[in-house]
């Protein structure tokens, strides 16, 4: 069963169809006309539009899997993908959760625990603390680590419950608002502290593990083009200007860490990279939005591997089988208004035309006439371009974006083209501060 919606539900359905696995889709009342409903072998409505009543409705999702006789549940990303309790409930009902063991999800889901575990495995982590009990403890810790520091929610994600603290006198207020926001967002107000690495690159490593203790890494992805909200917009593999030494260190650390925790299935270790310094940030125990760039340069099918590994098969590849070839870039096409702080857009799409031709992959659930409901993530398509070189991949992405037509809502297409045209991006010399700086410049120029 596919416990998700949108493009990732289609992605999973594709892998299943190619493996000859029958699929059951779940959908909300708002998604009745969505492609993932049409393309699955069976489809069950599990609730109304709002996420808590449908895509997070564990009883209805489990019940659907049971009444349709499913063997396994693929959670995609978001929603229930990193919910250890959901993974446990699956197991309780004899359903295979396609992901790592619940205990591993739980350990990695708690960021402070994850850091400690990684430290034990010999992985470099950002200087920082365990969970903090008070603003005073925070102040003392910051003194040791050195300002600026970052307060982060241990249950966090998407920048929620995160505060930059540059001076001791800001700590009291920052601590209060970070814990309050974390409590409101995750029902878990606990926060910890990390040294703030100024304008690092966000580089992540894709890993795959099976139940026989085999773990392989599938290179890295540079995801430093992020909106001010820290959401990724453009990703690429391999990361430009990453020294061979830094790359080797990253990949080796990732594999070592996974073996240490007994990691199975697909996962991603996110690192901050500043010069030759590499700091483990967090691990995502699921498939990522940006997995296709890895698939293109390594000629693998990560979702098929997830399904195979979950079925108890050994990995289909050994490390030595994997040969990096060419360069791949992904642009996220979101129904958002980049000129208005990327405000999400809902509505009915008029004409929709996606690009084609050589080296272009499109993962999308929308089509001419499709509805974009207001309840969900604003991403409506991913366009991935492959090229023999980074330059060729950029040129191909530019022509692919120019071919793309999405009428009816504002999108990030033009914003992506603007980013691709900048000298920083073309040179591959950008960090996570790049897009916010570019947006500030553009806004200033327009005033």
């Amino acid at each position: 069963m596919i416990a998700n919606r949108g493009e990732i539900a289609l992605r999973i359905n594709r892998a299943c169809q190619e493996l000859g696995v029958r699929t059951v889709a779940v959908f909300s009342e708002a998604d009745r006309e969505s492609l993932h409903v049409r393309q699955a072998d069976e489809a069950f409505c599990v609730g109304p539009g709002p996420v808590p009543r449908s895509y997070l409705n564990i009883p209805n999702i489990i019940s659907t899997a049971l009444v349709t006789g499913c063997d396994a549940i693929h959670p995609g990303y978001g929603f229930l993908a990193e919910n250890a309790r959901f993974a446990e409930i699956c197991a309780d009902h004899g359903l295979t959760f396609i992901g790592p063991k619940p205990s591993v999800i739980a350990a990695m889901g708690d960021k402070a625990t994850a850091k400690r575990v990684m430290k034990d495995a010999g992985v470099a982590t950002t200087p920082g603390t365990d969970i903090l009990d008070s603003p005073d403890e925070a102040k003392k810790a910051a003194q040791e680590i050195g300002y600026p520091v970052l307060l982060k929610a241990t249950a966090g994600g998407g920048g929620k419950g995160m505060r930059v603290v540059e001076r001791p006198e800001e700590m009291e207020r920052a601590y209060a608002s970070a814990t309050a926001e974390a409590e409101a967002s995750f029902k878990d107000g606990r926060v910890y502290m990390e040294k703030l690495i100024l304008n690092p690159r966000h580089i992540e490593v894709q890993v795959l593990g099976d139940e026989f203790g085999n773990v392989i890494s599938l290179g890295e992805r540079d995801c430093s083009v992020q909106k001010p909200s820290h959401q990724k917009l453009i990703e690429e593999s391999p990361a430009p200007h990453l020294s061979d030494r830094a790359r080797a260190a990253l990949l080796e650390m990732a594999v070592r860490a996974c073996k240490h925790v007994g990691y199975t299935n697909a996962g991603t270790l996110e690192f901050l990279v500043s010069g030759e310094n590499v700091y483990f940030m967090e691990m995502n125990t699921r498939i990522q939005v940006e997995h296709p760039v890895t698939e293109m340069v390594y000629s693998v099918d990560l979702v098929k591997e997830q399904i195979r590994v979950a079925a108890g098969e050994p990995l289909g590849y050994e490390q030595s089988d994997l040969q990096l070839r060419g360069h791949a870039i992904e642009c996220r096409i979101n129904a958002e208004d980049p000129r208005n702080n990327f405000a999400p857009q809902a509505g009915t799409l008029a004409r929709v035309v996606f690009p084609g031709g050589p080296g272009v992959r499109v993962d999308t659930h929308v089509y001419s006439g499709a509805m974009v409901p207001p309840y969900y993530d604003s991403m409506i398509a991913k366009i991935i371009a492959f090229g023999a070189s980074r330059e060729a991949a950029i040129a191909r992405m530019e022509r692919a974006l120019r071919e793309t037509v999405v009428d009816g809502v504002n999108t990030t297409i033009q914003q992506c083209l603007e980013i691709l045209a900048t000298p920083e991006f073309r040179d591959g010399r950008y960090d996570i501060g790049f897009l916010p700086r570019l947006l500030t410049q553009t806004a200033a120029a327009e005033r």
Binding site: F44, C45, V46, G47, S63, L66
Partner: protein, 139 residues
């Protein structure tokens, strides 16, 4: 690369057409000429009293106030025992069936009296959220 048309002075034309139109008993008048199209219409005006409108006409067939009882969760549909049949009268609110989900029997009630018009599922069917289970005539 494009034909440029002179816009016609359409407002004057429409004004004159409208004057003509109100003198007629036409309900709709539509003139097409070349690319232009004018359509005029009005509400029905009855000069003579209408023949009496048969009162039951638009209420045909005899009005049933149909309530649908839908599943509010996903599970397996089971008729309550003793099982009801289509056409059965319900004196008051009662349990018609239940939806079995994760080992729990979630009752489906008639929510008042009425006549069962349709039992939309068979015993043992998997049902999705929002699926119609019963249609009940509230009379």
């Amino acid at each position: 690369m494009s034909d440029e048309h002179q816009p016609s002075p359409i407002s004057n034309r429409v004004r004159r057409l409208a004057a003509f139109f109100v003198e007629t008993d036409l309900l709709r008048l539509r003139i097409e000429r070349d690319g232009d199209e004018i359509e005029l219409g009005r509400q029905v005006l009855h000069r003579d009293p209408l023949p009496e409108f048969p009162a039951d006409l638009i209420d045909e067939p005899a009005p049933v106030r149909l309530d649908t009882i839908k599943a509010d969760l996903v599970g397996v549909f089971r008729l309550a025992r003793p099982a009801m049949a289509e056409g059965d009268l319900l004196e008051s609110d009662r349990e018609l069936a239940f939806v079995e989900a994760l080992g729990i029997r979630n009752p489906v009630r008639s929510l008042g009296p009425g006549r069962i018009v349709t039992i939309a599922c068979h015993d043992g069917d998997p049902v999705e959220y929002g699926q119609v289970l019963f249609e009940i005539d509230r009379g």
